[in-house]
């Protein structure tokens, strides 16, 4: 009775993701969620509710005192124009800049 629908964060059959690691511009909605990002000059529109995941770091192994102890990752479905939607991981740096990390296909 509490079955969650296959959510963005649920573990799926591991399709090997493509590592992209490219800086992208992200447009946020009024709520603060990513609404679209521009990658390779094309706008990718986010579909549905994106999910944020904060992953902690072992900051004490690095130099200096951190301002954050976790990294911010957004997993979302997006599509370019009318094309088939892909699942992507976007990473937001401490300085607010965005990197498109993975394309899950």
């Amino acid at each position: 009775m509490f079955a969650a629908r296959p959510a963005l964060l649920a573990t799926r059959e591991p399709a090997l993701p493509h590592i992209i690691d490219a800086p992208v511009d992200v447009e946020l909605s009024a709520d603060g969620d990513p609404r679209a990002f521009i990658w390779n000059r094309f706008e990718h529109t986010v579909i549905g509710q994106p999910q944020a995941v904060f992953k902690r770091t072992r900051w004490w192994e690095d130099e200096g005192t951190p301002t954050r102890i976790d990294t911010e990752l957004w997993r979302l479905d997006a599509s370019r124009g009318g094309e088939e939607q892909h699942r992507y991981d976007l990473r937001r740096g401490a300085d607010g800049s965005w990197v498109l990390a993975l394309d899950w296909g």
Partner: protein
């Protein structure tokens, strides 16, 4: 009271920094942040208590938002099985019912936390160690009745934990139990999501399931963020808190916080979380808005009115019958005060009586106006209880300025003749509750507390707590622990963490010469660099609470509805509120402070009585004894209350007190305020006639005469204001307090100028006096404090003058002062009072005076000084004294082997060998050679069976056994080993030959030298002081003891500190070069220029001797050879040895 959607989010589950080792943000910061984020409500729900509650409520009032209060508590069922942790929130608008239920719930959680219940719970929980505070669900259900409380079941509740295990069936069953147990509207599910990775605590999955559970059960669910810190940056500090809580390095913590999202998120971010939670599961269309609306509605329900719900600012005194009053408290107070005046003033003449009655009428007007009659009766009742127990009592603080307190015998200092003011204590203009401090014998403090609890009833009395915050050493230790630095390394650093704030660690590293080595290490190590930052983060955060050393809260029977209590270390209940919370909560606090000097003086009086049968009433001792003042003027003030520190000795020497009021002045001058304002120098110049007293105007002379024209006391400032403006003394005290606030000065000045002109003062006079008053600022000291201190100062000086043996026995027993015991022993030696060695026949549990054969008196070392002995062993020795033989001793005392040997070593068993010290090695060897089985004796203590009696080793010494342990060791060595205290001879005695060779000036002869003489001093460090100094540059006082007399005080100024470096704090046995500095007629100190480690010096001298000896031998043989050959004479070496050694040292130092 709801604002636009999206703008407002109400946090219902927030730990403040008062959840020690968990929350890391202070309530004030949380409230300000919440308000800045547009919130209109904020709850603080500290773990296991309401530790930050009052601060939170006040912070919310200041920030203009509504406060909520709750506590995060562990709950157990009727079989003591744990039900996880829940948040209990108080309902507002219930005329205090919700808040009272919350207080009671917290107290219940702590109350069930002791004894059998705790054990039962611990075993039910499968833990071997005792569990923390926990409340039974049944008790919680009782308290939640009448719609007083809401219980939030979140991820840490048994329901949430079942969800976390993905056991939805169990979760539903457990929820049903909660619903059956608690009132219908009391259960609410709490949704927490920290956006953690899938599969970990704090991810969306359990959160969305919890939401579904609420929907299925038809219960409201609220969203919280289980907040532990205000901003994401503080997540680092929370990691440190976890490490300190688990006592593990960060790298080894199994369940660290999942990520850094437990911060006080603004509304937008919380709505974002809500959307993700709802989106992750199958919920109906209205789920999101319903979640947010339920959250808001619960906040509305839990918003507390500080006055109607919490009773903020409404004082409550014990009921009249409890303080033994049947009629009107005001009438009763009048009656007692009048009768007190008749008793206390009649000897001083009718004018004094009249003046006292007039003053009483004046004071009573305020008391009646403020409705404090019960308060005064309560305090006087407590004072009566204490006095009835035969315990010394002395009021302190501004309350000493009151004739009413004097007449009630709460205070023993007469206020009128001493020029003290009632208004400094209480006036209609003062917005705070009165505060009377009572000093009692420290050794009897706990007895007093128990008696007060008994007399007033434990529902009206509680001890006050205090919050201990992180300071340098603790902060660096916990930061070091978190980083996993080796203990040894942390210890070395921690030892250097003093005399500066940890938050200024980095700056201190740059500025302090003694930290130079550490600064270099920090520059070179990434980890140490991190350590510096982390240490600064922990500084000032609450660390733990403990019972306040003196605060007792007295109230009416509603006390436990207004403050949560928990057991203190001594077993009596302790409020979770600290001294800052007392006034706002209307809690009457009485400071009953244990003062060791009062115990020491009581001990002296008892010893005198035991030996002579005479009773001394210290409170009746005349305050003008010439011999007592002579002793004080000699600066031999070691052991005397308040004036025994090196700085005080110097000031006493300069000031040369002649009358009691001089002591009040002296004590008041030696305070940070007056010191910073250079008052001592101004006063001394006027006192010794170097400058004429400047009263500015004849109308000020009566006010300033007692201090030769220098404004020292708060009371003088108040009188000046009153004289200048006619504002009345109550208003004058308000002005006085505002002098410390620069922004208030223009207003005060305008008022003063206008009124003073009208009252006939010239502009010139006004200019002059305003300069003085404005410069006074917040400096100065209440004369009431000074006078209250001066009394025990005088009394202890009187005892030292007339009954030195009894007084020193009191000092050694109760250790009241700043000096270590061996210095008191040295002082006894100088005063011709021998300290007698430990002896099982005569040593008692405290230091006793013994009459000696030559008619003088000695002090017998006390049994507790024996290192490693147990209380039960010592009690048995004291109970069974004297002993007929060693066997008798063993049979009745049954010492452990360790204690037995230590007693023998140190000579305490010499009685059994006829005090023939040369046979002690035999005695020890005998005891060591004995073998026996360990036996259990009374009080569960192990002892060993010895074969006794001691064999007589007579005749053939060659066949006798011996113990090598004593070989080569002096009695001093043995005493230091087993007693930590050398009473036979001084530990510096063995250096005396070296001192002579080096030309060291004995401390006892320092006083004979003129100022500016270059001297060498040596000795063991007895104290280090860095008193407040004008100009802010640190000055280090080191008190050196060389065994010849009182300590020699060496002052190291900034330049010398730079030269000497860390040694100024680290070297304990030292040689110092400096120049004498006269301080007044009798005092002398030394300005230190350089210092060396005494052991290094001794080694170098020894090495030089060896070289010289070799050279001399060589020269001798060469000479003999030469003489033989050519009859030449050899060259004789001779040089100033001391100079040579020093030259050598200087070279070493500069190298």
């Amino acid at each position: 009271m709801t604002s636009a959607p999206g703008m407002d989010f109400a946090h219902l589950h927030v730990a403040s920094a008062y959840s020690t080792h968990y929350g890391v943000t202070l309530p004030e910061a949380l409230a300000e942040q919440a308000a800045a984020q547009g919130a209109s409500f904020l709850a603080v729900t500290d773990r296991d208590g309401l530790y930050g509650a009052v601060k939170h409520v006040r912070a919310c009032a200041a920030a203009g938002i509504r406060p909520g209060l709750g506590a995060e508590l562990a709950v157990h069922d009727q079989e003591h099985r744990p039900l996880g942790r829940v948040v209990v929130l108080a309902h507002g608008n219930t005329t205090g019912r919700g808040y009272a239920a919350l207080c009671r719930a917290v107290s219940a959680a702590h109350d069930g936390g002791s004894g059998l219940l705790r054990e039962a719970r611990a075993s039910a929980a499968g833990h071997s160690t005792s569990a923390g505070p926990s409340i039974s669900r049944a008790r919680l259900a009782d308290l939640a009745g009448l719609s007083s409380l809401t219980v939030l079941l979140g991820p840490d509740s048994d329901v949430g934990l079942a969800i976390g295990r993905r056991d939805n069936t169990d979760a539903a069953a457990r929820l049903t139990h909660w619903q059956r147990a608690l009132p219908a509207d009391a259960v609410v599910l709490e949704i927490v999501c920290h956006l953690a990775e899938s599969g970990t605590v704090g991810s969306v999955t359990p959160a969305t399931r919890m939401l579904a559970l609420a929907e299925n059960a038809g219960l409201p669910a609220v969203l919280s963020n289980a907040v532990r810190y205000g901003t994401p940056e503080e997540a680092v500090t929370a990691d440190l808190a976890d490490a300190a809580r688990y006592l593990l390095p960060l790298a080894e913590i199994e369940t660290p916080q999942t990520n850094g999202q437990a911060w006080l998120k603004p509304a937008g971010a919380m709505r974002q979380v809500a959307r993700m939670v709802v989106d992750a599961g199958l919920h109906d269309a209205g789920a999101l808005e319903r979640l947010l609306r339920d959250t808001e509605q619960l906040a509305d329900r839990c918003a507390l009115d500080p006055i109607l719900d919490i009773g903020l600012g409404r004082p409550r005194m014990p009921e009249a019958r409890i303080i033994g009053v049947t009629g009107d408290p005001v009438t009763e107070l009048w009656r007692r005060a009048r009768s007190g005046i008749a008793d206390l003033y009649s000897a001083s003449g009718s004018r004094a009586v009249e003046a006292a009655h007039a003053q009483l009428a004046h004071e009573m007007k305020t008391v009646e106006h403020l409705g404090f009659a019960s308060y005064f009766l309560t305090v006087s009742r407590v004072a009566d209880i204490i006095r009835g127990m035969g315990i010394r009592i002395q009021a302190r603080g501004s309350g000493v300025g009151s004739v009413l307190n004097y007449a009630l015998r709460t205070s023993s200092v007469e206020p009128i003749a001493n020029g003290l003011l009632w208004e400094r204590f209480l006036s209609p203009e003062r917005q705070t509750l009165p505060d009377i401090d009572i000093d009692v014998e420290s050794a009897r403090r706990h007895d007093i507390y128990r008696e007060v609890f008994r007399a007033f009833g434990s529902d009206r009395v509680s001890l006050m707590s205090m919050t201990n915050a992180y300071r340098g050493r603790g902060a660096v230790r916990d930061a070091g622990l978190a980083l996993g630095l080796p203990d040894a390394q942390i210890n070395v650093i921690a030892k250097q963490m003093w005399r500066f704030n940890a938050r200024d660690f980095r700056r201190a590293l740059e500025e302090k010469p003694e930290l130079e080595a550490l600064a270099t290490e920090v520059r070179e190590s990434q980890q140490l660099d991190l350590l510096v930052d982390l240490t600064a983060r922990l500084d000032r955060l609450p660390r733990h609470i403990s019972v306040h050393p003196c605060g007792v809260i007295l109230s009416d029977a509603s006390l436990l509805d207004r403050t949560p209590v928990q057991a203190s270390g001594m077993g009596l209940p302790m409020s979770q509120y600290d001294k800052h919370d007392m006034d706002p909560m209307g809690l009457i606090k009485l400071d009953i402070l244990g003062v060791r000097m009062q115990s020491a003086m009581a001990h002296a009086v008892e010893e005198h009585h035991r030996l002579t049968g005479e009773s001394i009433d210290l409170d009746q001792v005349p305050l003008d004894d010439p011999k007592t003042f002579e002793l004080i003027r000699s600066t031999r003030t070691l052991g005397i209350f308040q004036i025994e520190s090196p700085g005080q000795m110097e000031l006493v020497g300069k000031l040369q007190p002649e009358v009691f009021n001089d002591l009040t002045v002296e004590i008041s001058l030696f305070r940070p305020g007056p010191m910073k304002n250079n008052m001592p120098l101004k006063y001394l110049q006027a006192r010794h006639g170097e400058v004429a007293p400047d009263y500015i105007h004849p109308r000020f002379e009566p006010i300033l005469r007692e201090t030769n024209g220098v404004v020292i006391f708060h009371e003088q400032v108040m009188r000046l204001f009153d004289e200048l403006t006619g504002c009345g003394l109550g208003k004058a005290d308000v002005f006085r307090r505002h002098l410390g606030k620069p922004e208030q000065l223009p207003q005060i000045e305008e008022y003063l100028r206008e009124r003073a002109l009208a009252r006939g003062f010239s502009v010139k006079v006004i200019d002059q006096i305003w300069t003085v008053l404005a410069g006074f600022g917040s400096f100065g000291f209440a004369k009431a404090h000074g006078a209250a201190f001066a009394l025990p100062t005088y009394q202890s000086a009187w005892l030292k003058t007339h009954h030195p043996a009894a007084f020193l026995a009191g000092l050694l027993t109760h250790d009241p002062g700043m000096w270590p015991k061996d210095l008191i022993v040295a002082e006894a030696r100088v005063l011709g009072v021998p300290v007698l060695p430990l002896d099982v026949q005569s040593s008692a549990l405290d230091y006793r005076v013994e009459d000696l054969a030559d008619g003088s008196q000695g002090i017998r070392l006390a049994l507790p000084e024996l290192v490693g002995s147990t209380e039960t062993e010592r009690a048995r020795i004291a109970r069974h004294q004297p002993f007929g033989s060693l066997q008798d001793f063993r049979d009745r005392v049954h010492p452990r082997r360790r204690t037995f040997e230590a007693l023998a070593r140190v000579g305490a068993l010499d009685t059994f060998i006829g005090y023939d010290r040369t046979r002690r090695h035999e005695l020890l060897a005998h005891i060591q050679s004995l073998r026996g089985t360990a036996v259990v004796i009374r009080a569960d203590q192990l002892a060993f069976e010895v074969e006794l009696p001691v064999p007589r080793y007579s005749g053939d010494r060659a066949g006798a056994i011996t113990s090598l342990e004593l070989r080569g060791r002096t009695q001093t060595d043995l005493e230091l080993l087993d007693l930590n205290l050398a009473v036979g001879t001084h530990q510096m005695t063995r250096f005396h030959a070296l001192f002579k060779e080096l030309g060291v000036t004995p401390a006892s002869e320092l006083g004979n030298l003129p100022g500016g003489t270059e001297v060498l001093l040596a000795g063991v460090r007895r104290a280090t002081n860095t008193p407040p100094m004008r100009g802010g540059r640190r000055v280090v006082f080191i008190s050196l003891d060389d065994g010849t007399g009182p300590v020699a005080n060496v002052v190291f100024f900034h330049d010398a500190q730079e030269r000497v470096g860390g040694q100024v704090f680290q070297t304990n046995y030292m040689l110092v070069r400096g120049r004498t500095r006269r301080s007044g007629a009798r005092g002398v100190s030394v300005t230190g220029e350089n210092l060396w480690n005494l052991f290094d010096v001794a080694r170098q001298v020894k090495e030089r001797h060896a070289v010289e000896r070799a050279a001399a031998e060589e020269a001798e043989s060469a000479a003999a050879y030469a003489a033989e050959l050519a009859a030449h004479s050899s060259v004789q070496r001779s040089s100033s040895r001391a100079g040579g050694a020093l030259h050598h040292l200087n070279a070493a130092q500069s190298a």
